[in-house]
Symmetry: C3
Amino acid sequence: MRFLRTLVGAAGGLGLTLLAADRPNVVFILADDLGYADVGFQGCRDIPTPQLDALAAAGVRFTSGYAGHPFCSPTRASFMTGRYQHRFGYENNIAFDPQNTLMGLPVAEKTVPERMQAAGYATGMVGKWHLGAAHLFHPNRRGFDFFHGFLGGGHDYFEVSALRPMGEGYQTPLDHNGKPREIDGYLTDDLTRAAAGFIRDHRGEPFFLYVAYNAPHTPMQAPQERLATFAGISDPKRRTYAAMVSVLDDGVGLLLRTLEELGLRERTLVCFLSDNGGPPTANGARNDPLRGGKGSVFEGGIRVPFVMSWPARLPAGTTFAHPVISHDLSATALAAAGIGADTLARLDGVDLLPHLLGHDSRPPHEALFWRMNGGDQWAVRSGDWKLLQAGPNLAPALYNLAGDLAETRDLAAEQPGRVDGLQARWKAWNQGNREAFFPGFSDYHKAKNAFYKTLVKPTE
Amino acid sequence: MRFLRTLVGAAGGLGLTLLAADRPNVVFILADDLGYADVGFQGCRDIPTPQLDALAAAGVRFTSGYAGHPFCSPTRASFMTGRYQHRFGYENNIAFDPQNTLMGLPVAEKTVPERMQAAGYATGMVGKWHLGAAHLFHPNRRGFDFFHGFLGGGHDYFEVSALRPMGEGYQTPLDHNGKPREIDGYLTDDLTRAAAGFIRDHRGEPFFLYVAYNAPHTPMQAPQERLATFAGISDPKRRTYAAMVSVLDDGVGLLLRTLEELGLRERTLVCFLSDNGGPPTANGARNDPLRGGKGSVFEGGIRVPFVMSWPARLPAGTTFAHPVISHDLSATALAAAGIGADTLARLDGVDLLPHLLGHDSRPPHEALFWRMNGGDQWAVRSGDWKLLQAGPNLAPALYNLAGDLAETRDLAAEQPGRVDGLQARWKAWNQGNREAFFPGFSDYHKAKNAFYKTLVKPTE
Amino acid sequence: MRFLRTLVGAAGGLGLTLLAADRPNVVFILADDLGYADVGFQGCRDIPTPQLDALAAAGVRFTSGYAGHPFCSPTRASFMTGRYQHRFGYENNIAFDPQNTLMGLPVAEKTVPERMQAAGYATGMVGKWHLGAAHLFHPNRRGFDFFHGFLGGGHDYFEVSALRPMGEGYQTPLDHNGKPREIDGYLTDDLTRAAAGFIRDHRGEPFFLYVAYNAPHTPMQAPQERLATFAGISDPKRRTYAAMVSVLDDGVGLLLRTLEELGLRERTLVCFLSDNGGPPTANGARNDPLRGGKGSVFEGGIRVPFVMSWPARLPAGTTFAHPVISHDLSATALAAAGIGADTLARLDGVDLLPHLLGHDSRPPHEALFWRMNGGDQWAVRSGDWKLLQAGPNLAPALYNLAGDLAETRDLAAEQPGRVDGLQARWKAWNQGNREAFFPGFSDYHKAKNAFYKTLVKPTE
């Protein structure tokens, strides 16, 4: 692997630049709990996001871009493997427990960065992991040469504490390749600097960089001076949210500028998306005009801002309307890195490039699928049609998204045949899934506390 | 809260000094396992405590001042809430286990520092917490803006070790607002410096400071040079004890001097007491002429040195003879900070000020109560009379403390009616109590090890 | 103890040098998984070990020197106590679990360094402990004034990580008297420097130093420049192994030079041995011409390079052919330090000095014994004869090592009487043993994970 990288580097030095040009750098930028309607290129009015808008303008905006799951940890599991996370039972939001070596992205699953490493890429990750806190799940052990971030599902934006970590590890020291670190200033800025540093350090070799901002996830914290620029927003939660998104936008700008200054922008594939829909109550996000939000299989829970830019290959200023899903980006990156077709065929994600370049005019997927809580909620989208079950024991509802983006008119009663067809399709897909092998974090803590309760009880 | 504090500060700046003067700073100084007879103002001869004596001379000495419990952790639970700790099942000495989030001062209980914060006070704690080691019980999460100390029931006076903590955490790094710290010199001096620093940092606003020295609790360790000044004490344990108390006395002196230098002494309510009676065998403390010591409901286990000084309001050089208890200080501080009467009425502690100033000539309490080990031991004091049960299945004993401070003459047989009356009173009080919700630390470790024993056993 | 040390120091200063000369310094150097054939003085050709060869040439080489166990942790348990580890149920390779206070060298067992401390020695340990990771088993609590090393069964040679320790703690920060430390360069060099520092710091008083190198145990990691000098070895594992052993040899050289420069070499008893036979598959070690390796009761698993040098007392360039075992060195050191005969008589180790000096012409032991896996494997050696059972339900095999060092000719069928006699002897020895009180590390983790599996399972 080290040898392979050296070779690639040497080849570049000898003028064989075609190789490097053909194999782009890849930068994945993931926002956390960002709403569908909360960036300029999605029509947002109260939060300027000039950098993200420029990124979207420089590439392809996906108007039906989906997250792999209505919430955080499972989306990341599919994003990091290129497979539906249900294939390996990763369906719940994982608890933070560094002692538990059984709970994390299964080590049997080969990760995207592992495959990129094998293809000669330098691999780096910055930000939120949320795929297991025990040592064997650490990003440095799952394919990332470089890691600067944290292992839990969120983090305080200013403070770390070695002795007083909040529940779920929100104040654990930052983890810099396994060494503890303070936050340098505001966390989003700290992460941006680490990401830019990785780009600079690896300018001379192909690299894969995964920037997983925790912004604008709770806790709602923003730098005072940035908050001041949003004084016009009266709702304090939305005001803080706006400031958090605005700093994130700055960060994306700095990363793009860094690529440009190093002459790498042309041959770098940059993707931006959110890990799930926005949760209006928790952080003030907005998903208009979509129905629902984070934790729901309605569009508001899964359809997200979704952009891909690769100046050397992809036309600027375009949109793509066929449904795509976050782990398509994983497959696209692997394909661009030269991973063999046989490997890609074993993934659920699809290489989008042929579809974007018009080499393949079919939609990337015949259907996309979601499942939550062991199937209590699920959805399938095929073409403009979407069938979903919004809760346990509810009848499936059928929507035509072409004319009813807000999912207000249930057509199930009118089109029982279509309902049956889509439901059969979902069931067939679900045949290949496994039950969740760990519970969600609150159930987990309940079970763990049950053990402690055997210790903590009256002596009498 | 921040706003409120600013207001108070601004009001002070505008000359509305009455407000600040009316609402004193509050400094609670708690010694740990200090005997009833081990300070000069209690008649001690072999350990000079000029600073504590001066403090007592400057205010009110309580001749029947009691700790809320015969041992450490429960006294602190009542001290930090203003309520009898049995109200919420906090009856045992808590084990040190940062992993156990179920064991600590219940989060449902509002703490004194939380109430002081809400009243606009800056709140700081220095020293021994001993009310839960898991993150959610951390002093910074229970009302203290500032914390410098440790979470367990004691600490080595010189050494910390990140990798080799003694049982019960006696060598964990000091915790400075959640960040690890070495001890700077001798622990008692280190704590004094942190407390003085807090006073200086908050000179311009009302503050509540809780200085919980672990001296003279075991381990018996004192600076070499201070030990030398007690060469005349032949018993080595008492010699070390004397040196430890002497350094503690210096510390109190430095705090008082700091207040004076900043011009705050007049308007600062300073209290000093011990968390329970001295344990002669463990640390060489003396409780003469009282019977028993730490861990006993005889006077030696609960009657402690007890002083309150507030030059702006309280006359110097006075004594107060009616029985009072540690959580009366909590109520007094809250009342002085302007906490409403309705809140105070829900506490068990009583605002002592009206009694000390003669506005209320009744005794603060009709009776005081103690309970240990689920009721195996208990005591009630009313007026000069005390009824106690010293162990399981023992008959209650009745003493008249006016003539029999040493509790040597059991009058129970002579006064069965008084016995019945006092016992009925204790039972009525006990109706409002809960059973302990966690075991004492040795039972806890036994139970926890039982789990490990399921792992550690022959493979055969 | 402190007084005793001072006395000895003062006596030395007054010219009473006989005392100090009579009581040597003791330096135990233990290699980890070093093969029988992998040092020059054992005939190794591809790895130069000039320093170890010089050490062997300066003292006594034991041609039948045995480790107390075919693998690591139990050998160390006997080495640190002077007793067969089975006496106290220490039969398995211990897991790394700092939370488990029940699993380690039993605190009821008095350690060699504790006895040396009591005899007035400064005691230091450098390197791999592997006798329990919970606080109460820490070397500083088991007799070593000074410790610099790590608590688990192995360690990365370059990296530590506070947040990302490998399984079994291979990347925990180094532990320097309980404080975390980075590795300074290559671990073997770091340990050597710490050991040399201890020698310098204690040049003026008798000292006991235990240098437990983890080299050449896995992970296979060596400094690049040293690897280069072994480019002639084609097998990459053996090449790395050779480099690791070579750096270890340098380290021993530096320690010997340090002793010489301080004028201590004459009166220092230096021992060198391996903790068990080499594991050829794991690290490329060789045990030729012996059969088997680490984990086996054949000679390759237990017979190791074994040297003792004490210039003031022992002749140079000699060999000793009678069977001896690692904990004989413990007894020899204790005897040399003046520990009473009554204490020594309670140990299984034997003071070798009288045998080496010809004061006692008998073999040190009538027989030596080994036991693995609760008796599934066992061996006894008496004179040239060895009876062993190589696995569960196998018939014992009898070898005459005088003519059959490679254990190829089983004579059990020819000499049933000798088989019975040796087996009876082993059984008699085994009467005094206890069953293992903790399982091997993989069984331990299996059992611990069984608990976590009660937490990690489908929510449905």
